[in-house]
Symmetry: C2
Subunit: 428 residues, 2 copies
Amino acid sequence: MKISRSIPFTDTYISQTISDKYGEDSRLIYNLEDQGGEACSLRYDLTVPFARWLAMRSDVQHIKRYQIAKVYRRDQPAVSRGRLREFYQCDFDIAGIYDPMIPDAEILRIIAEVFEAFDMGITIKMNHRNILDGLFAVAGVPDDKIRPISSAVDKLDKMSWDEVKKEMVEKGLSEEAAEHVGLYVQRSGTMREMLSSLEADANLIMNQNVKEGVADLKLLATYIEAMGVGSKVSFDLSLARGLDYYTGLIYEIVPDRIDGQSTQVGSIAAGGPYDNLVGMYGRRPVPCVGISFGIDRIFTLLAERRKNKKASELGREADVYVMAFGGKDFEGLLVERMEVARQLWDAGIRAEFTAKVRPKPQQQFSASEGAPVAVILGQEELDAGQVRVKQLHVGDRNSAQKDKGQLVARQDVVDAVRALLALSVEGS
Amino acid sequence: MKISRSIPFTDTYISQTISDKYGEDSRLIYNLEDQGGEACSLRYDLTVPFARWLAMRSDVQHIKRYQIAKVYRRDQPAVSRGRLREFYQCDFDIAGIYDPMIPDAEILRIIAEVFEAFDMGITIKMNHRNILDGLFAVAGVPDDKIRPISSAVDKLDKMSWDEVKKEMVEKGLSEEAAEHVGLYVQRSGTMREMLSSLEADANLIMNQNVKEGVADLKLLATYIEAMGVGSKVSFDLSLARGLDYYTGLIYEIVPDRIDGQSTQVGSIAAGGPYDNLVGMYGRRPVPCVGISFGIDRIFTLLAERRKNKKASELGREADVYVMAFGGKDFEGLLVERMEVARQLWDAGIRAEFTAKVRPKPQQQFSASEGAPVAVILGQEELDAGQVRVKQLHVGDRNSAQKDKGQLVARQDVVDAVRALLALSVEGS
């Protein structure tokens, strides 16, 4: 895939330019102190700044790009659920005019690839704004209540249907309309199942909005099946999402339960097309579609999994530990340890030594923990132009201690170490 | 080397905690608007936050860590010289009690390795605060004038000696003392040359500060010679550097002239030991030594070099372009192009196709620019379970156009593409 390198967007923005793009959420924006006529804010997300950049760059017709950077929200933090005031997002976006649903399908493929690379089970929950608007209209939700009712429906993943219904009635919806909405939004399934069931519902499919949304999703289903990600998607009519700038398709990624336990973190990525945002900053509309990965939430899950792994599975920090031993007049051989480390570093081998002039044997042994190979220096061997190389922590402790390793010429230390490292990979 | 992963330091800090650590430079700190009792600032560098973190983590006795993150300075920007208000730094630090000069030598080795990896010629300019203080004392600079005179001397890389001398006299130094300072600070050379010349100067070497600095540097010279970086260092008695928190050794990395032209960007990395900073935040003093790389300045130099390279040397964005052609009833074969792309993606091969339902041949050819291999679909071949693979842009245009490629079974497309990619690597 053609992916442009991360663009060096700035973290700070003129306040007025961004504050009106987030609606009610703009109370969560961090503003900078006015230190001389510069009204600046900290970045709230990576989407709006990208749209603003695109609006300024009329030479950019098509671009695919990723960006990894921090965003800031003056929210009530809840660390255990991964809700922080300062956190990393990773965005991938495709901007430009393409045939319908092709870039959307590519985004979904990328989502699947990312979580496969993390070896993490996920579901892509998907919905379409037009279908949601259409079914609200069919159910008898007045136009001016669509946003509040939509935000109530979006809570179905955390609240029971009775609670959601109560909120809708409190927001002024009739009992009957609320029940009607409930018939629709409690449904989810594969794209093909849901599309068949929507098309079979004569009331719904007559609605122009629903018809458009269904046509989009039929095309998308064909494309994501071709790309091998169809099975990851759950079409969920309750998904609504807060941000106003999404047009049409919306999706949210939730991690699979781990060992039967649902995770605390909620969604770990979300996105959709935002076709009108670039046009709000300039004269030229550029359709866009993108995904934001919530890096800190993903890392929270990965860290949880890492806890259960042994240290030996986590990758080692050094390949070789360079040590020196000697009798009671032992001077430490620090410069010689440095010289051997340099030989190994020059060959791209990760080597460590104890940063002491005269280190004790036990100090060096415990610091070598995790390194599979040692180079051992002694005055006598050095005088003969030789060093000792040996495997560490192999088999049972006693036999490893007894293994004196092999003597090699100093200039051959890199080859000898490489041979032992290859052995230790096979053995592990 | 044992390197801890980047620690998720926050970008924002309680103002008072940091503002008094930068002395006069604190006017360059960006403060956040007070939005309810939270006095916060944007991070000015990565060193002070690291020291603050260390002070809080009494369980951390020794750590080596790197961190790549943005910092903010409310300075007058000068883009061409790489002076920005918001820029990336990459810091590497070693904290903990070690024998003298060993971690310092390791930092210098890392600096050399980093710029070797960039294939960038550099000089490490080095000095020692104690030697500087000592020679000022010997030259007759009063104690209360050491900081201002030191900051004048630091400008010798940008100003002539006459200008620097004028500034010193304006700052209240006697003509005679200024001349005396000038005798010392205009000297630079290899560490061994400079150490010999300092030791031969009976006046200087009697000074306790100078004596201590010379002892440090002799030890360091031995260590960096053992690590193979001695030849990169220029001992420069005019180097002073602004920040107050450095103790002892100071260094600054300057890029070599490119094609005989000096670069505009000044220093591209700088550092030194800061043994007292952690103790200022807590009860426990932890000696530290580190280096900050100015990533944006380094990228400015790399981008300059990149300009002179051909597109073919810069690495390609896709390995394979998947195309389809047909007669006048041609339907575009979009789903089939997606399916082939998916086969290639699943095999880790970077594949692209045109995001159009019915793309024109010319559209596909020009979009394939840069990809060395094409997979070409046609209805007839697909009906026979086959696709065509061929090398793109090989030899002269006409013969490449005439090359029809080879027909392979659809399930063998990955192997066939891999074979052609291997050929295109050999050919280039």
